[in-house]
Symmetry: D2
Subunit: 430 residues, 4 copies
């Protein structure tokens, strides 16, 4: 029997008060879509089948290098984080996976942790290693980098940490490792760009060698931060080169905030798919740099265009299509549960809209170079308010029609503020 | 008698070994400049008269939101920071001013602190307030902003802190207050942009009212971070509007890293000068965002172009010309003393080069639209290696010809690593 | 009796076939909005009252410096352009104003031109001067700039051209002059930034002096292109300084594509409104630079956020609120009529959405720092599909429910391809 | 006997007046470098051996989409362009190669053209095809793209044009083809990103198949313009994927202005070198977009960092090192001869500085993570004024010490303004 953090009665009661309105909106949308030749039920089923993982660390407040403002009741260990992830999935029904991070989520007994997650109806998704921070008891510092460090003992430590993450992941039921390193430089000349990349590849090859046959290793590139002049894996080109060299099971992960200004991210998605190297996503949004804002909060249209490429890719899988989806945000000013519910809905909405595109009409307009018709075909899908579909899908699976209202009515955070230990002041992401 | 941290004998001895080479280079440059109608001695005297302040916090290691890697022997209080600033000025002779930051540099007795600085031949420059972070014992949180917060008690606290900073500054002998706030939003809609600005201006007016008649209040704008969707004082236009509204003694401070990509910063300098609102500078460099890298390490030519505008402004002062110069960098991977020595030399070099420009020829080329000649006239000055001038100016004032060699020979940091308490792991800038 | 280019019968007939669906969608939206406390009829009336001007030059194909690909049947003079603008307004009902450009739209008899426009139900909006290009018979070249040129005869010519534009505008019934200059430099040192701005202001003051008492002069800033190192009026700060200096009737025009990457344009709108200097808009969209793409085609959410600020400004007019709205796009790959119909609908949709925002709830959430609620309140309005409101407003005013379908059915372009003279190959915007 | 456009007597006479000063500066630099363990003569010989090609089209005035301001005496055909390229090489001695462009440089007899070039001491470098513009007599339009067009006859025409360019190049003595296409879209949805790339690759493969065994095909990527939403070959990742798929003889060309803002171009150089795909360069500079400004005029330090990577690559050639160097600038406001002389000197200076780097010391500092020492080692080379080395190298090869003074004294342009036919007004690059 499943462990429910929010009372199912509360959800049911809240839904009941909103059901008439939802049914009216859903019926109206159904008729409008029908006129466009779309069966709303199929879209709803697709929405139900689709999911995106949440990161364990995202359950806590994030901050900047200047400050972090703690939230009363925020979780301080993986058990409390799982509890909050359970709330997110209970209300939203699109986030059954939790992506853990080590050593932040280190426990004694990983089998017990897996059972704990399963008791909430959750499972563990891609495992994230951390070689960008020093831990208290750590023999080598990552001050000179990790997999690309000039220091052999440091590289060794970073390799072993990644191998340990795979091992933990096997216990947790995961089959993916996400490798992001902060390695890079702050000064021209600080390191040689060629030899740094060589060292990175040699070390990453040792991690790759430890990968079980059914696992995927995902390389996450990032343009800058913490390194401010150059980063070893700074762009999708470097990521692709590395993934090609490491082998079949190595793929590229696209974080929406890790690109240069103005870059066409949806085209990168299309390119990586063609290269057979589209590993997965870290969803978030940004206006300036790697802002880690809530997905779609700044540029929802860009997010839709990414999903449009994904729908194209799924339609034309070439060598295969199986990307991993994960939220990766820093919740500096909101309740992380609310932000992840909002983001998951936004992402699911972009997914649903992409499947509302009249793809046959779109392709025909493209082939005949009817630019305006092609654009309007895509835009029609984007402008469709898919809220009723998502809400109906949630409700039918036991989630909340109005996740924000129901969550607040539950007073989950207020209760946790009483129970959980307070977080101190500080800065940064941990 | 002045307190010297580095043995003057060591400096003298090191200089002796390098003097012949310096004199040869200096003489050669002197002849080359003479051919261009420039008396090298005048440039050298100008270099001696010019200075740039260092920030007290810059004496410590900085970090990112991800991590900070401490340096053995880094200072952990204002006294140790002053000691390191003394080293910088002793070797480099261009940084007699130290810009303090409160509450980080809080002490019991500010008169004693002032004397302590003076014992090193240092003085205090612009005072910096901090309303972007919560302190342990603080009644109100800045989670909702500070001067622009919707909460009156929070605004009140921020106002009073700034007024206290002025008070402290008077004791320290300063006559400038730098106000930077992190106020802004992470979500569209989070705050109303008009009313936030109103609140900021009302609160800032109370700070301004507390300003002594001979003080300047400098507003520092910043495009983003810690706020990632909007910042109340995000650009020079907002800064100018605020400075105009607050009054004569309020001016704008230009931090080189706080602008949108591609922005022509030197033109902003020219515009602010014309508006009578050029208050001063925070020098650093950046490649991606507000990277706080060492001044001129990424784009030394841009720094030169800023100084070219300053030379034009000084030549045509219109309503007056008296900007404050300060370094503001985050030293994440170097010894801060080395970085500030390197940066101060780079900045002083750009200043010197700007005064090598044949301004009469430049103006004539501009007036006659001789584009190539105008460009080459400016470029000739930029390409001149002014190292010998700066080194001679340093040596003649008791500094080190080869500041890096002499500093390392002094083993200052190694000694401090024995004496000073270690800094723990963490993230961010404090 | 009004001159109709498209047969009203065709429109009526096309609408008839689509009316049932529209009424169903409109009724459903009406009920959904009613639940949110919004009377759909009021929004529809507001939509009817609102308009945006089209630029005469936008009726033709645009191009890049590399090439222009002509469109069969595109207009080659102001009479044909008016005819096409008439089509746009007949079908879309939101673009009664046409913004002319001189000397491109020069004719012998401006009273006759005004009557010609009125015969289509059109009027003339802001007049645009051109001092960025040389014309065949022009005594002075703008190679060295125009209002800021070092050459007095060139400045004189530019002043006189602007004064002539005002004169023409009076005959045409306009009351606004838009001044954009391409003045700037391609090399550091090419011109002095201070003196160029001085010359610009002196010359602009002469244009301003010729302004009738009820006219507005709008300064359009642009970050770069055609000048690639510096532009005299490059940003809103420079534009504000100039407008402040020139006088009350001088205001700033915001072109959505003329900003640095990542800039928060909606905040600039709020700032200019507060400064009493919000003159108007040039709507378009861009991904990379000043791409002049169709409004909202790349970032529709940003366009909505601009209109949200406009709704705030109209609600709190401070010193007044009367911005001019104009489309300014380069139609390089589409039929300009289709692009302007699409853009006008997109812009009108953002306007409508901004007035769907529950502003009371938004303000309450802002005051109480309920970040998620504030964000969701704004987002709810953005996600509403206002298509039925816009379509109903169009239809009730004689326009086309499905403007694209009806326009294509009219075969207007095909007919014009027979009648109008062909355009040759070339590049650029003329 | 060689055809000289500028009188050798004039050059000799001008040099004579400047020789004493040059020899003094050269001797001083020689001693300074000697102290750093560098033999100036070796650097000078390296400078003599190095060259960069000029583009034939660069000999004429360029413009923007808004306007082009013609220059009296500019060349209007390949013969006049060769004459001007001869002047550039005669005075500067670093630009013996001319890169032609078709159909702009089409002639009847290519053997005669080759002889004409050789009479000036010039040869033909990489051939550039043009499928981004329509020509008068061309059956298919490139309005829908070229190699990636949906239209088979258009792709066929583009393929055949490229094959013809190879054929012409063989007559001219070239062994490289540069392929840049403007193919892309202005609207989301306009084309499918995957299928466009497929079509591009299929068509490019046909061009590749026509390549002689000793030729290289270079793919030039460009982020945007003329396409403003997506470009088929927009970044180095796409370029690399295409070059990998096409074959060994296909490589990537790096144009310094074709990247997203803030991108670390020197790292791209290092990556492409490692991938064995570094084909060559188009040198220019930019501040905002693809501004095509004079090389090093905006960011000379970035240019130096590129050459530092090239020196590293030459030192560690891995699979080989043989990039092609070419200037690619748009001379909108200067005499193109002056701009290319200035640019060639700037580029040659960066090349020389890169070989002044104490690479052993640099590597040692990198290996020991001595960040400041590594940075200063690089910076020392950058700050060295290599002007005397370049001038001496020029003079010893018959060029002008002061190329600008001698060029102006020659009155070449004034004479050509009498002889050559005038260019009309217009816009763009042709």
């Amino acid at each position: 029997m499943q462990n429910t953090v929010i009372s199912p009665d509360l959800i049911e009661q809240d839904n009941a008060a909103r059901l008439d309105a939802l049914e009216e909106d859903y019926a109206a949308l159904s008729r409008a879509l029908e006129r466009r030749g779309i069966a709303i039920g199929q879209v709803k089923e697709r929405a139900k089948d689709w999911s995106v993982a949440v990161p364990s660390w995202g359950a806590g407040r994030g901050g900047t290098r200047f400050a972090k403002f703690p939230l009363a009741g925020e979780p301080t260990n993986i058990h409390e984080k799982l509890e909050d992830c359970a709330v997110i999935h209970q209300l939203g029904r699109t986030t059954p996976g939790v992506s853990p991070h080590f050593p932040w989520d280190r426990v004694e007994d990983y089998s017990a942790l897996r059972e704990e997650a399963e008791s909430y109806g959750l499972h563990f998704d891609a495992v994230n290693s951390n070689t960008f921070q020093d831990q208290q008891d750590q023999p080598q510092s990552y001050a000179t980098g990790s997999l690309s460090s000039t220091l052999e003992p440091t590289r060794r430590q970073a390799i072993e940490h990644n191998v340990e993450c795979i091992e933990i992941g096997r216990h947790l039921g995961s089959d993916r490792l996400t490798v992001w390193v902060g390695d890079g430089t702050n000064f021209p000349g600080q390191q040689d760009m060629g030899r740094s990349f060589d060292r990175y590849l040699d070390a990453a090859a040792e991690v790759y060698a430890a990968l079980p046959a059914d696992w995927t290793m995902m390389l996450e590139h990032k343009m800058f931060e913490p390194a401010f002049y150059s980063s070893v894996i700074s762009d999708w080109g470097s990521s692709l080169m590395a993934a090609q060299e490491l082998g079949e099971q190595c793929k590229c992960l696209v974080d929406l905030g890790h690109h240069a200004p103005n870059v066409n991210i949806e085209q990168i998605v299309a390119r990586l798919h063609r290269a057979g190297k589209l590993g997965g996503f870290h969803f978030n949004d940004s206006k300036y740099g790697d802002d880690d804002l809530d997905s779609g909060s700044i540029n929802p249209h860009q997010l839709f265009l990414v999903f449009n490429e994904l729908a194209e890719a799924e339609t034309a899988p070439r060598g295969g299509f199986d990307p991993a989806y994960m939220i990766d945000q820093s919740h500096n000013v909101t309740d992380p549960i609310e932000s992840m519910l909002s983001s998951a809905e936004t992402i699911a909405g972009c997914h649903a809209r992409a499947w509302l595109v009249d793809r046959e009409a779109l392709h025909a307009a493209q082939e005949s170079n009817d630019v305006m018709l092609a654009f309007r075909t895509l835009r029609q899908a984007y402008e469709t308010d898919v809220g009723p579909i998502l809400a109906m899908a949630r409700m039918e699976q036991g989630g909340a029609i109005d996740w924000l209202g129901t969550y607040r009515a539950s007073q989950h955070r207020e209760r946790k503020a009483q129970e959980r230990r307070a977080v101190g002041l500080g800065a940064g992401i941990v």
